[in-house]
Subunit: 329 residues, 2 copies
């Protein structure tokens, strides 16, 4: 490595807003639905269906990621993937993202370029045609992203959490528990007692446990499966962000029913309580033909609550961002 | 004041996510275009026109506001008003907001309730029918809001920054310079050398200079004037967020023209360089009948750049959020 390579990286405070945007915007993915892109008061996106899904998620350094455990690329990828999953879980196809980023002035511009590349690759791989149409850039004491996502229903009604009915099957597309396993691996082997991150250990974990670390740092939820579930007549759907049981409780409460899981089909205890996989959890009428990505893991029952093999599941398995406030549950 | 009143305020960390949302969501304004409101993976908004404007702005404690100078109500009001102005400046009618808030766990829930009330009152007064359809809540080291706004074009084409043509008149609706004057008053009389805020002094300034302090802390941009300008055939438009000259440069650059201001019509030097008023700045063909809110302040000229009474205006008058990074320019 030459002396030049070891020079202090260029920061966004040194570059200023216009030059930083000049580095980032060319890296962002384009949306096939863009009528007007970045640079005006608003972006304008085509929504021929006349109904538009809208969702926002914050990703904040500390509660949601740590620099070192995550690269900028990982942060951008995950922010994109989790928002795409929210659109997919309504049965819509994601079309456009609005991305606001704030970071300390001493943040290397490389980190923000990494975020842009991560957004690009996640959009292109998980939801081709979806792109970033606008955003905002500012300063803050920690790095934070706000990603707003939208999409198009193309004639299919939104699939809410409220349509599960007794007798429907409960099915899931995508992994369950891997992201939590990856988080545990990272904290057990790459973060010391003082909270310092050993980047070399993170790299070794990527080599030894690529599926679990990937699920945590670069989740790849089955975005197109959400759309296919809607077309197949899914009665309720959401993406599993806080854990299968906690999120299933939300479908059960919204629908006024209970859900009984088959533990053998779910696979493991960590699959019941682990969050952040962003799998698609859906209910279907018995007569529906499930899309190939989905596997049946339970059924909708009349008694309120969540059950596993018929027994009430009382473990909360949850994480409250306001009370708990750090990466580790 | 009773002992009960002096008790420490309830914090959002004590309440947790669900209870905090239970306090906030009922305070939020409803959108007349809501097909599905808060509580699912996405909100769903009606967009009969088939084209949707999208914009986001961050408001971050430090660069964008200070607790004490601003109440929670002020923060919510301003976050709403500035985003409504971006939608209005495209010629659209604002219909829906997506609001993400993050705050330290020790933030009093009162402050977040104030934000919600400010959002509600600004939406109801400035853009009746526009409401909050969804959002996110998390923790961060400082208070921050991300507001995404959308609206409807209802058959009128978006008014970009690129349509100004030589010979068009330049006109503005709303105040210029008051928000900057209000900021100067606040820093001169209500913030000491160590940066501490004297809340009683803020209250006195509200009494003695309601228009200037109001323009800074609770701006009331002429939202409906944006729509009327579009209907009247405005050729270019934006809201004045960073100052008249700085923002006029953006229209001039996007349109490939220059703009010459009449200082007597603009009114003052602070009106040229002061930001944050969110007035509507528009250009119109000579044949257009300007909506009554607009006054002519200049004309579009062939020579690139910004001129005042024919002389090039070289003062930057700008503020770079990445380099400068605090409330005070």
């Amino acid at each position: 490595m030459s002396a030049h390579d070891e020079a202090a990286p260029t920061t966004i405070g040194e570059l200023g807003e216009a030059a930083t945007l000049g580095r980032i915007i060319p890296l962002l993915p384009e949306s096939m639905r863009t009528l007007l892109g970045p640079g005006d008061d608003c972006a304008v996106v085509s929504v021929p269906d006349g109904r538009v899904p809208l969702t926002v998620d914050l990703m904040i350094e500390g509660p949601d990621f740590r620099v070192g455990l995550s690269t900028g690329y990982d942060v951008g990828w995950k922010a994109c993937a989790t928002n795409l999953a929210d659109v997919a879980a309504m049965g819509a196809t994601p079309t456009a993202l609005i991305v606001a980023v704030a970071a300390p002035a001493d943040t290397p511009v490389d980190f923000l370029e990494g975020i842009a590349r991560g957004l690009r690759d996640a959009a292109q791989q998980l939801a081709p045609g979806c792109g970033v149409v606008g955003g905002d850039l500012s300063t803050a004491p920690v790095i934070m992203l706000s990603v707003t996502a939208t999409g198009e229903f193309d004639g299919v009604d939104p699939v809410t959490r409220a349509g599960a009915r007794v007798g429907h099957v409960v099915a899931v597309a995508g992994d369950l528990g891997r992201a939590r396993t990856g988080l545990d691996l990272l904290f057990d082997h790459a973060v010391d007692a003082r909270g310092h991150v050993d980047r070399a250990a993170v790299e070794r974990l990527w080599q030894s446990h690529p599926d679990d670390i990937g699920a945590q740092l670069r989740p790849a939820p089955p975005i197109s499966a959400g759309r296919r579930a809607a077309l197949a007549g899914a009665s309720a759907m959401m993406d599993v962000s806080d854990g299968l049981v906690m999120d299933a409780r939300r479908i059960a409460a919204a629908s006024g029913v209970g859900i009984d899981f088959d533990l053998a089909a779910v696979g493991s205890h960590v699959a019941l309580i682990g969050g952040e996989d962003h799998a698609m959890l859906a209910t279907f009428p018995l007569a529906a033909t499930l899309p190939s990505e989905f596997r049946v893991i339970g059924r909708v029952v009349p008694r309120d609550g969540i059950f596993v093999d018929g027994a009430p599941f009382t473990e909360s398995g949850g994480w409250d961002p306001l009370r708990d406030g750090d990466v580790r549950p």
